[in-house]
Amino acid sequence: MDILRVKNLKKIYHTKNSEILAVENFSLNLKQGEFVAIVGPSGCGKSTILSILCGLDKASSGNIEIEKGLKFGYMLQGDNLFDWRTIYKNCLLGLELENKLTKENIKYVNKLLDTYGLKDFKKAYPNNLSGGMRQRVSLIRTLATKPDILFLDEPFSALDYQTRLAVSDDVYQIIKKEKKSAIMVTHDLSEAISMADRVVVLTNRPSKIKNIYEIKLTNKSTPIQNRKAKEFASYYDKIWKDIDYHV
C-alpha cells in the first residue's frame, strides 16, 4: 500500500545569472512503514527533494500524491533545539505552533520522554545534554505532532562518528517502534544501507534516479548489527560505483 506517490518531480532554481536544473524526473513511492534512504553526490539536490515533499519549497512541475489525512514531520540537519527552552518546552514547540496543546497530546509527549530515557531531563536546558540526547529530543519534538511520514535531512551529520552510530541506532528503533514511515537523505552510504529498506541512488545535478536497491540482509535487526551482515559490503560496493565519486 503506497502512502506517498511522487511522480516526475522537477525543480529549477533561478538566480540572476542563470537557471539551474536541480532535480529532474524524480519518481518515488513510499509504502506504509517503509524506511527509504536517498543518497547521491554532495550538492546533487537531495535536500531539495525533501524540502519540496514537506512543502517548504515549490516544485517546478510534477505530481505529489499523499494518502488522505497523513501528516509530515521534518527533521533537519542538527538538532535545532532552542537554548532558552527546557527540554519539555522544546518538545511542545510543534504542538504550540499548531495550536494542539490538548491534554491528550501533552500526555503523549510525556510518554515519549519517559519511554526514551529523558524523564529526568524534562526541566533541563539543551546545553546540559549530550549530542545524542539532544538528537533524541529533536526526534520527540517531531513525533509530538504525530506525523505519519518522517523526512530526515542528514539528521546526524553534525555528530561525531561514535555518537552518530549510536544515535542512528536509537532513532531507527524509535521510528520503527512508533511505526512511522520515513525518507532519509544522507551522504553516508553505510548509514543508508544499515538503516533503510530501500536505497535510492541519485546522479549528479540534475538529480535523476540512477538506481534503486532493495536492501535484503540476513538477520536484519538494528543498524549497528546490520553493518555486520555479509551482504553489506556488496551493497556498499555497488552504490559506491553508482555514485562515481571523484575528487
Partner: protein, 263 residues
C-alpha cells in the same frame, strides 16, 4: 571535599579578584588625593582645574539651593524618555523591516545616509521645528540613537539561524509565531547589547541638546558654568554625569543578569 590543590586554586582566584578590586580603588583614591594635594599647594591653577573639595562643596551648595535634584531629574527624565522611545521604537521598526523585505530594501540607502550624518547638525532644524525646550532635546537624543538601533536590531534579526526558521515553517508556523517563538527570544543578548550602547548614545544626545537649548539639567549646568567661567560647576557637572551614566549602565547589566540567570 576538595583536594588541597583545588583549595589553593580557589584561594588564588579569590586573591586575584581582591587585588583587582583593590587596585581599582587605589587608582581613584590616588587621583583624587594627588589632585587635592596639587590644588592645596598651588601646583595647579584651581581656577581652571578645580579641586575635589570644591567639587564636593559645589554639590553641597547645589543641594542647599534645592537645585541639585532638579537638574539631575531633568537630565534623567530626558534620558529615560529618549532611551525608551529609541529602544522600543527601534525594535518595532526593525521588526517591520524584518517582516517586509521590500520595505527594508527600499529604506536601506536612507538609513545609511541618516546613520553617517552627524546628527548634531540637525540641532538648529530641530530647535526651529520643535521649539527651544525638552521636546527638542528628546528628539535630538532620539535621532542619535534610533537609527543605529534599527540597523543593529534588524541585522541581528535577519541573521537568525535559517535552519531554525525552516524547522518552525515545517510546523506551519505563521510569521508572528516565528517572531515571538524564535526571533525575539534568540536575540535577547543582542537586544541587551543594543540597550547598553543606547544608554551611552542617548546621554550624548541629551547633553548635546541641553548645550543647545536647555534651562535646566546637567548639560545646562556645564554650559552655564563654562559661560560664567565657573570651572567648579563644569567639573561637578561632568562628575555627576559620569556617576549617573554608569549607574544606568549597571542597571541594564543587572536586568541582563536577571533575564539570563535561568539558562
Amino acid at each position: 571535599m576538595y583536594s588541597k590543590e583545588h583549595k589553593e586554586y580557589l584561594k588564588k582566584i579569590k586573591l586575584n579578584n581582591f587585588l583587582i578590586k583593590f587596585t581599582q580603588l587605589l587608582i581613584i583614591v590616588l587621583i583624587i588625593s594627588i589632585w587635592q594635594f596639587a590644588a592645596d599647594h598651588e601646583l595647579i591653577n584651581t581656577f581652571i582645574s578645580s579641586s575635589p573639595k570644591s567639587i564636593v562643596n559645589t554639590i553641597i551648595n547645589l543641594y542647599k539651593d534645592n537645585t541639585l535634584f532638579h537638574h539631575l531629574w531633568i537630565t534623567f527624565y530626558e534620558v529615560i524618555i529618549s532611551f525608551l522611545i529609541a529602544t522600543i521604537g527601534g525594535i518595532l521598526i526593525a521588526t517591520i523591516l524584518w517582516r517586509f523585505k521590500f520595505i527594508s530594501k527600499v529604506i536601506d540607502p536612507y538609513l545609511t545616509i541618516l546613520n553617517s550624518l552627524p546628527k548634531v547638525s540637525l540641532g538648529p532644524i530641530i530647535i526651529i521645528l520643535a521649539g527651544a525646550g525638552t521636546k527638542s532635546i528628546i528628539i535630538m537624543a532620539l535621532f542619535i540613537s534610533i537609527i543605529i538601533t534599527i540597523i543593529n536590531v534588524h541585522q541581528a534579526f535577519t541573521s537568525t539561524d535559517e535552519n531554525k526558521i525552516r524547522l518552525l515553517k515545517s510546523f506551519n508556523a505563521k510569521p508572528h509565531q516565528i517572531f515571538f517563538k524564535l526571533i525575539l527570544p534568540s536575540n535577547y543578548p543582542n537586544l541587551i547589547n543594543v540597550c547598553k550602547v543606547n544608554i551611552g548614545l542617548v546621554f550624548i544626545g541629551v547633553i548635546m541638546g541641553e548645550f543647545l537649548v536647555s534651562k535646566a539639567g546637567i548639560g545646562y549646568l556645564i554650559m552655564y558654568g563654562s559661560q560664567v567661567f565657573n570651572l567648579n560647576l563644569v567639573m561637578t557637572g561632568v562628575i555627576l554625569l559620569a556617576i549617573m551614566a554608569s549607574l544606568m549602565y549597571y542597571l541594564i547589566v543587572f536586568i541582563e543578569k536577571k533575564l539570563t540567570k535561568k539558562q
